[in-house]
């Protein structure tokens, strides 16, 4: 069952399966009709396994896992939940499980989940039982790091990234809160936001309080990080600690605001973004109604507009942070899902695009499974 796109939507789970050449796509679903699916992720260590984050309008958040490539789903026996607070402490409850990340290859069965309000959780058994990561959730600085700005959906903990060389080296991001790093398996954390703008704050020169929308780590070169932020596109080459704003090289008329950023599976210098309108009242739609992907082949020094096949006018959609992904083909396939329920595919690294599904519910997550 190669070449599957899992589509998490506001109203259920769908999938698109391709032939070997990725030219014909067959839509299946819905599964879990009416469930809000925030993220669906394949386990690269055991590809028949998937984990999915869900809730419904009425019911609390939970997680499901599959051991048969998504044919059947089993609900977690202990979904992500904060510890019960002591008397006098501010109570915290998970409102949504927003993000899922498989653990390091050396830890089979390990998964991380990020929530809103901002919490980090870990499972040791493929997502059946979850426990709070106290080193982050109870860090003395957590109330300041995840103070948010009372945004309607709360602070979102996302972009949990595990260094493939070490299970102890972790990154995560909070929108709004910033990027944080742990080098001891999550026992302690420190902000990693130097060089990142936070021009919405009264004092933009702060160590945390930034708004990363999506942070990625290149799987082949794990010291190379990219970030699509509310305030620009950035690159960081560790061990440096200062992010470089590579979005300054985007066309000024387009700017460098967006939600997703996607890495090439092999080339650390190639990334794709989907810019959105962050002007005036922040419409967050494709810019001027003309959607386009932008690609850099040189780590953000220059960018190319890629819009062949995409609507040329009057297309006002948004691509959310989990809704853009790449496959690992020899010529990389790139995919995005829109807030208007369309899935667009490119099998030539973004040069040309075609719509492979439409009329779905609002797409929250689009992930590739081999």
């Amino acid at each position: 069952m190669a070449n599957t796109l899992w589509i998490g939507t506001r109203k259920g789970l769908f999938s698109l399966r391709a032939d070997a050449r990725r030219r014909t796509w067959r839509l299946s679903g819905p599964q879990m009709l009416g469930h809000i699916i925030h993220h669906v992720v394949q386990d690269p260590r055991e590809p028949r396994r998937l984990v999915l984050a869900a809730k419904t309008g009425h019911l609390g958040p939970t997680v499901y896992n599959s051991i048969d490539r998504g044919r059947h789903w089993q609900e977690a026996k202990a979904p992500p939940a904060f510890r019960k607070v002591a008397e006098g402490e501010k109570p915290r409850a998970v409102e949504r499980v927003f993000w899922l990340t498989p653990g390091n290859p050396s830890e089979p069965g390990a998964w991380y989940a990020g929530s809103s309000p901002a919490g980090l959780f870990r499972s040791e058994d493929h997502g059946l039982h979850w426990a709070p990561v106290a080193g982050f959730n109870d860090h003395p600085m957590h109330p300041k790091w995840a103070a948010g700005l009372r945004t309607p959906d709360g602070e979102l903990l996302h972009s949990v990234r595990v260094d493939p060389r070490s299970a102890r080296h972790l990154y995560l991001a909070i929108s709004i809160g910033g990027v944080f790093e742990s080098t001891d398996g999550g026992a302690d954390w420190a902000p990693l936001n130097e060089g990142v703008a936070a021009d919405f704050l009264p004092n933009p020169d702060v160590p945390y309080g930034h708004d990363p929308h999506c942070v990625i780590l290149h799987p082949q070169q794990p010291d190379r990080l990219y970030q699509q932020n509310h305030c620009g596109i950035y690159r960081l080459d560790r061990p440096a600690r200062r992010w470089l704003r590579i979005g300054e090289h985007m066309p000024k008329a387009i700017g460098d605001v967006g939600f997703p950023i996607v890495a090439h599976p092999r080339d650390p210098d190639t990334v794709w973004v989907f810019p959105m309108d962050g002007s005036k009242v922040w419409p967050r739609t494709s810019i001027n109604g003309k959607p386009a992907v932008y690609r850099s082949r040189n780590a953000g020094r220059t960018w190319q507009r890629l819009a062949r096949g995409l609507p040329r006018a009057q297309a006002w959609f948004t691509v959310l942070r989990q809704a853009m992904c790449a496959d690992a083909g020899p010529r990389v396939g790139l995919y995005f899902g829109t807030t208007q329920g369309e899935v667009w595919a490119s099998i030539d690294e973004g040069e040309s695009w075609r719509c492979i599904a439409r009329h779905l519910p609002e797409i929250y997550s689009l992930t590739y499974a081999s």
Binding site: G57, H58, L59, G60, T62, P79, A81, R83, K84, P91
Partner: protein, 87 residues
């Protein structure tokens, strides 16, 4: 045994049953026993701080209750209600 009326969003936990029975001297006990027979059901209604979730309402007979410490009698009926607006 107390009769519990189950709304459709929770019936995946009761094998489709719209009505189940459970015991308990308080609402907390009843929900705990309900969860033993229908694992996972309680957490979808009650958060980790023992609060009823925002879009869940619980009635004992005709009276809406907000505390899990509410007492229950054998002849009581508990209604679990899902309350949400919008599309």
């Amino acid at each position: 045994m107390i009769t519990v009326r189950v709304p459709s969003p929770l019936r995946s936990y009761t094998a489709g049953a719209a009505q189940v029975s459970a015991s308990g001297r308080t609402l907390a006990e009843l929900l705990g026993n309900l969860d033993r027979h229908h694992p996972g059901m309680r957490f979808r209604m009650i958060d980790e701080q023992e609060r009823i979730r925002p879009h869940i309402r619980i009635f004992i007979n005709q009276r809406e209750v907000q505390a899990l410490t509410e007492g229950l009698g054998a002849s009581d009926e508990v209604h679990l209600i899902c309350a949400l607006s919008g599309g």
